[in-house]
Amino acid sequence: MSRVAFGSLIGHLRRTPLRRNLIGGLIGLVVVILVLESVSPFRQGQFATMAYLGIAVGGLTVLTGLNGQLSLGHGALMAVGAYTAALMLHDVDKPLPLPVVMLLSVLVTVVVGAVVGVAAARLHGPYIAGATLALAVAMPGIASFFGDNLGGEQGLSVSTPEAPGWFADAVYFLTAHDVTGTKYLAYVGWIGLIISFVLLANLSASRVGRTWRAVRDDEAAAELAGINVGRARVKAFVVSAACAGLAGGVMAMVVRIAAPSGFPLTLSLSLLTAVVLGGLGSLFGALIGAALLTFLPQAVTGLGQSLGLGDLQSAQLAPLVYGLTLVLVILLAPAGLVGTIRNAWRRRQSPDTAPIHPQQEAMQ
């Protein structure tokens, strides 16, 4: 290969979203390592929680923000992923390698997501929400009905997998710290998050992403332009379900159990609130939303207790503050935290242009 061709290839790569996203992912990885190595084990656990919520919210924000489908059933899809992982990690002496477990969680959830997606593609707006809501309500019943295999009400306990030797050595080589169970799970979660976010960002910048936006903005126009609307919707749902499956798999390991009571309707709803808080369609917003879901309740409860409130009042303070935050964000920053800041930034850069629709371009 000649030097000129190589140079132009580099130049070409630099211009593509793939390149941009990979660099973003690498920076993310460095930040994750720096953060995880410098915080306490308790915070590492919280970051693991944030990672799985982030993956699920990321998948949901793509579905809702880019394709305009509202799902109230993502908690149930997470449950599918979690139960798949739990079945493979429950009372086994030699569990499969973790990437295989995660991949199977994703695959099983994709199958379920495809079935639901096909049904959802025939519906519009609130009807999709209703259909997916039914999924979220039915999920605990399924786990109880197949109680012999799925553990019923008590669920399946998950033995936390140990970090493989090469991984522990690699982390030790870089950071001079040993890998504890919690830290390992946080790494697993964040690596999963980075991989899925790079893929999602790529997808959204690709032809597929453009068809999703076209379908969201005007179905008739999209169909006239030769886009198969139904197929685009199912595709978006399946991608989103894959994220929920991965999130569920990580969740099962972080929580160490997959039980029906761990997947209440409020889980699906809080994923949606995280999407709204961060900004519809924005992956960075999804991270912000997941961070709020993870850190806010614990911080508020702690604050309540340090202010001398009783245990019960402190516990009740958390949902109150979260609800107020949500109301305030919707009132003051209707495009979500990230969306509003971005719009303000754009207005400062070029005051003439009207604010861009919050959902557009948000994926970059």
Partner: protein, 445 residues
């Protein structure tokens, strides 16, 4: 756009290089084996405090009743602290809400163990919720004392869970005791079982069937969360069962009573201890029926069991102590059976802490609890703790509710898992608390 990318690439490069340079100091592992077990001060213990953690449903569906347990324990610890604490150490009791959701239990238990650095967990409530953290607590070597659940998994395998101890009589021995009582006193009854579809139902059914397998005409199971129990009660009615044994949580006692009233089904009811608190059931019933079921106590005449004296036994020395403690240190509300439950766990914890000696360690308190048996305490029957079993209280007595008062029908009956015989043992029921109200246990040798 291109310049921006270029800049970002440079920044990314700088960060990466910086991180690598900063971190490469480690390189390989040190070859000398460093000993990690330096006997530093025990986690959660200082010169003048002992920190204890607990998780309870303070909010959500499981909160009524259960959220009162930690207020009772807190009141007793306040009482002990006001009297100088244990070996000069005040007990700091941190309660966190899990809303009966195992995901939250996992998060708040992480917080208690890793951030608040508790010495031990005390009385964490719920079977599915606590299953999520029991392995974590054992791998972190945190004493996990007196789990507020009757599942046998907390105590039947101390080798797998050396730091976990059960508290109340497990569901299997309760099933056995109830089964034997029915076989003896109502041998002609056609028995229907009303079961919660988890360890509670499964273990109890196993115990009951040991004695009255042939008398059972129908088994109806419900899943918690589904509030419609009409099909189950209708099935019991259709089977002609004239004695229904309910192994269910309080909300389902109220629901089953309501549905039975609607269907005009009037069998003899026998509820397991966990679902039979008359005060709570009364308030739930009037709530569920929107006031239609008023002040009449629907549990009048119902059979149940008890393993610690309840609020109705006002002349019992233990209850008098609890009343004194609650009057002095209780917050809102009055003394209830749930608060007594919490106080009894707190009392047992103080006993264990005293037995662990002047400078308690996590391992030390586990060893001390294994030797705890016949020390005077509020339970009616002795504990079963030993190196081979971490199961809790060994028995209970059958009682009949007359109004809000429990009228004993049998002496205290004690037994163990499997084929262990049921024996009468009133020894632990006759003791009373020391005059100070604080246990006086000598360190276990």
């Amino acid at each position: 756009m291109k310049r921006w990318t270029k800049q970002m690439t440079r920044i990314a490069g700088l960060i990466t290089v910086g991180a690598l340079v900063a971190a490469c100091g480690a390189g390989g592992r040190p070859s000398s084996g460093s000993s990690s077990d330096t006997a530093a001060a025990e986690v959660g213990i200082t010169k003048d405090t002992v920190t204890v953690g607990a998780t309870f449903p303070l909010t959500g569906v499981a909160a009524p009743g259960y959220s009162e347990i930690p207020t009772g324990a807190q009141a007793y610890f306040d009482y002990v602290n006001a009297n100088g604490g244990v070996n000069g150490r005040k007990i700091k009791y941190i309660v966190r809400d899990d809303g009966y959701n195992p995901t939250t239990t996992s998060e708040v238990t992480n917080e208690l163990v890793l951030k608040d650095q508790v010495f031990a967990m005390l009385g964490a409530l719920g079977t599915p919720t606590h299953s999520a953290v029991v392995d974590f607590l054992n791998s972190e070597k945190v004493p996990d004392l007196f789990v507020s659940s009757g599942s046998i998994q907390w105590g039947n395998d101390p080798k797998a869970k050396p730091y976990t101890f059960g508290w109340q009589p497990d569901y299997e021995i309760e099933g056995k005791i109830i089964g034997q009582w029915v076989a003896k006193n109502m041998p002609d009854a056609k028995v229907g079982l009303f079961l919660q579809d988890d360890d509670l139902g499964v273990d109890s059914e196993k115990g009951v069937r040991r004695y009255i397998d042939k008398q059972i005409v129908k088994v109806a199971k419900y899943t918690s969360g589904n509030t419609d129990v009409a099909p189950q009660i209708a099935a019991l009615k259709a089977s002609g069962a004239d004695l229904v044994l309910g192994f269910n949580v309080p909300a389902y006692t109220a629901l089953s009573q309501l549905v039975a009233m609607k269907l005009n089904y009037k069998p003899k009811w026998f509820y397991a201890n966990i679902g039979s608190d008359p005060e709570l059931i009364g308030s739930l019933l009037s709530k569920f029926s929107e006031g239609a079921v008023g002040k009449v106590n629907p549990l009048d005449g119902v059979l149940t069991t008890e393993y610690i004296p309840g609020v109705d036994a006002t002349d019992n020395a233990w209850v008098q102590l609890w009343q004194k403690v609650w009057d002095k240190h209780g917050k809102d509300g009055h003394l209830t059976n749930y608060r007594i439950y919490g106080m009894s766990e707190a009392y047992a914890f103080v006993q264990a802490l005293q037995a662990a000696g002047k400078n308690p360690t996590r391992k030390g308190i586990v060893d001390a609890v294994e030797k705890m048996g016949n020390d005077a305490g509020p339970p009616l029957a002795p504990f079963r703790y030993s190196a081979d079993s971490h199961l809790g209280i060994s028995g209970m007595r059958v009682v009949q509710l007359k109004g809000l008062v429990a009228d004993p029908l049998t002496p205290v009956l004690v037994t163990d898992l499997g084929a262990a015989p049921i024996k009468e043992d009133d020894s632990a029921a006759k003791d009373g608390p020391p005059a100070s109200g604080i246990p006086e246990v000598k360190p276990a040798g």
